[in-house]
């Protein structure tokens, strides 16, 4: 089978469409989480910098900006791990099925 015919048959398969839908929903969902958090952080700095300067607890020097900032870093790492985990499991399995189906 020529590669282009194979692409067309994959494109029309319902399994492929399912994979695309799931993966796109997931990617854009995670991307929007990151974008919202990051721009919320940046715009807080632009508009209400004092908000991040509130102490974590009365009498402490550490401000809430510090754990929030560190949280964004750690959360970004966790989110990438979360994506890789689902992609390497569920999505790769689906992809494999799609490819095998196209070879029949």
């Amino acid at each position: 089978m020529k590669i282009n015919d194979r692409y067309i048959s994959i494109e029309n398969s319902s399994k492929f469409q399912k994979l695309v839908k799931r993966r796109n929903t997931f990617s854009w969902f995670l991307s929007s989480i990151i974008l919202i958090i990051y721009f919320a952080f940046i715009l807080t700095i632009a508009f209400y910098p004092k908000l991040l300067g509130i102490p974590v607890a009365q009498g402490m020097v550490t401000t809430i900006g510090i754990p929030i900032g560190l949280f964004i870093i750690v959360f970004s790492i966790i989110l990438t791990g979360f994506y890789v985990n689902r992609a390497n499991g569920e999505f790769d399995r689906l992809t494999k099925e799609v490819i095998e189906e196209s070879l029949k």
């Binding site: 550490t62 900032g69 970004s76």
Partner: protein
């Protein structure tokens, strides 16, 4: 004061800058540092040995450009981190924390959040569609000649501008750390980089980056550990002491007005995110792994290492406030840090680990620059040999041996140009260059790459005009902005008021690509749109992409 702020922001705007007081003005020559030099020689001998080993394994074009596609996800993650954690992020961000506390964290976060986006939206499709360069992907269903030429120009501009910034920064830094002459330092960096890339190709470059990443992460970990140990691993205790000794007191614990204008804030954010996703040397790294699965893993590991590194720099910055700014050994008569704020992390190395550790960190800083320039040069050489020579001049049917030869010759030429420009620009203000490179990457490479993968309607005409407009807009807005127009050319007011052009240049690139695509009535446009389907299937499944078995 505002100008100083602008310059600092601009420098830190990119990973690859060496901060202001290192690059601007002449550096006083300190005594030759023997420990640092011997540690560095150890690094050089080790990496040259690796280059020799890699050279024996580098035969085909695939070996040269993509290390045969045999790098694992973990190794590639480390190498990406090695490409991304420059001397500037180590010295520059810890210097920013040293100078103003919390603000340093804002930059770290900006540099990091691009990575999850690259993973979710770019990495897999890129790996499934491309072979050696991102132009493979951008031109997948479009006309090869115009799109490859545009991508190659975009890549070469980013690479050359970065190389100048790196070379000048390297020269100054090495002068400060090792007491070597500026010209010798620049030539040394250039020659070593040429050796790594021409003989060892991507395999040697990758290993130089991996080793450097490990050294930098270990060194920074040790420093952060020693700082925290002094305070019984209590951040609060560290902050209390820092606030007590810092001139600005408690205000270092909150945002200090680096970004006050919301448009600028968004523009900076976009440039950091999308610029990272348009850097040719970073994108190229995704072709060194066997498949999409490994590409994904690379980003996960890279994000982990980079994020961890930024947390370390934050601790190192606060540690320097406590240990460097209070120690007369590291201060000059005016009470300023010897060598400038950017040297604070280097001084901290001495404070926590003595002369031997100082030598180690100095050698790591040098190694860091070498790794970054090697990656850049390889990306530039590939743009010339793979995109221009093989696909534009030889219509995609080059003799592989000749293609590799072109690549090696280009590497040597780029290396010589980098040495020449490095020497030429020694006393120039190069602060705008890094920002310019980022703006070009975000406004030329990124829109074309992204739209080609995500939008069926993109045609050659749209991509070419859109990318070209993005390129011109970013260059012109930087030239008319506060740094070049006012600080360098000497006019009193900037024509374009902001130092963050990205929001404008990226938008205009996207709008132009869209407009000139939808109005494209040519017959080739119809074919290009109809080829989106097969391209999309390949980008999602990897069917037809180059696996390790095809080699």
């Amino acid at each position: 004061m505002k100008k100083v702020f602008y310059t600092m922001i601009f420098l830190l705007w990119s990973e690859y800058s060496i901060a202001a007081d290192v690059i601007s003005g002449e550096v006083k020559k300190p005594p030759v540092n023997l420990t640092a030099i011997s540690m560095f020689i150890l690094f050089v001998v080790g990496t040259l040995f690796i280059t020799y080993w890699a050279a024996k394994r580098t035969k085909s074009a695939k070996d040269f450009y993509a290390a045969g596609g045999k790098i694992t996800g973990f190794q590639n993650g480390l190498a990406i981190a090695g490409d991304y954690m420059s001397a500037a992020s180590f010295l520059g961000i810890s210097a920013l924390v040293f100078a103003s506390g919390f603000d340093g964290l804002i930059y770290s976060i900006g540099f990091l959040v691009g990575w999850p986006i690259i993973l979710f939206l770019i990495a897999e499709r890129l790996r499934n569609l491309g072979k050696y360069t991102f132009a493979d992907v951008a031109s997948y269903r479009l006309k090869q000649k115009p799109i490859r030429s545009l991508s190659a120009i975009g890549s070469l501009m980013v690479v050359l501008i970065y190389l100048i910034a790196q070379m000048v920064g390297a020269g100054k830094l090495i002068q400060l750390l090792f007491g070597l002459d500026y010209n010798i330092a620049v030539m040394g960096v250039g020659v070593l980089m040429i050796l790594y890339v021409t003989f060892g190709g991507m395999l040697a470059t990758t290993w130089v980056q991996i080793i450097k990443a490990v050294l930098l992460l270990s060194g920074a970990t040790f420093m952060a550990f020693m700082v925290l140990k002094m305070f019984n691993f209590s951040f609060e205790a560290l902050f209390v002491k820092a606030v007590e000794v810092h001139d600005n007191g408690i205000s270092i614990m909150a945002p200090g007005g680096f970004i006050s204008n919301p448009v600028d804030a968004i523009s900076l954010g976009l440039a950091l995110m999308l610029g990272t996703a348009g850097l040719p040397h970073i994108l190229m790294r995704f072709f060194t792994v066997s498949d999409a699965k490994e590409a994904r893993k690379s980003v996960f590991y890279a994000t982990g290492f980079i994020g961890y590194f930024y947390i370390l720099t934050f601790v190192i910055g606060f540690g320097s406030i406590v240990l460097v700014s209070t120690n007369p050994e590291f201060l000059n008569l005016n009470g300023d840090v010897i060598g400038g704020n950017n040297m604070s992390a280097i001084h901290l190395a001495k404070a926590v680990g003595g002369d031997v550790f100082l030598g180690f960190i100095s050698a790591v800083a040098f190694a860091t620059i070498l790794a970054v320039v090697s990656g850049l040069t390889l990306a530039g050489a590939s743009a010339v040999s793979h995109d221009l020579y093989a696909n534009v001049f030889k219509n995609g049917k080059p003799d592989e041996i000749k293609e590799i030869r072109v690549s090696k010759i280009t590497t040597i030429i780029l290396g010589l140009i980098a040495i020449g420009l490095g020497i030429l620009f020694e006393k120039q203000n190069i602060a705008y260059m890094v920002g310019l490179a980022f703006a070009i990457a975000a406004s030329t490479n990124f829109p074309v790459l992204f739209l080609s993968m995500y939008w069926r309607g993109l045609t050659t005409r749209g991509a070419f005009i859109g990318g070209a407009i993005g390129l011109f807009t970013s260059v012109i807005l930087v030239v008319l902005g506060p740094i070049v127009w006012v600080d360098i050319i000497g006019n009193s007011d900037p024509i374009f008021p902001s130092i963050y052009p990205a929001i404008y240049s990226i938008s205009i690139a996207f709008i132009a690509s869209w407009f000139f695509s939808i109005t494209d009535r040519s017959s080739s446009a119809v074919i290009e749109k109809s080829n989106f389907g097969p391209q999309f299937v390949r980008s999602m499944t990897g069917v037809g992409s180059e696996g390790p078995s095809s080699h």
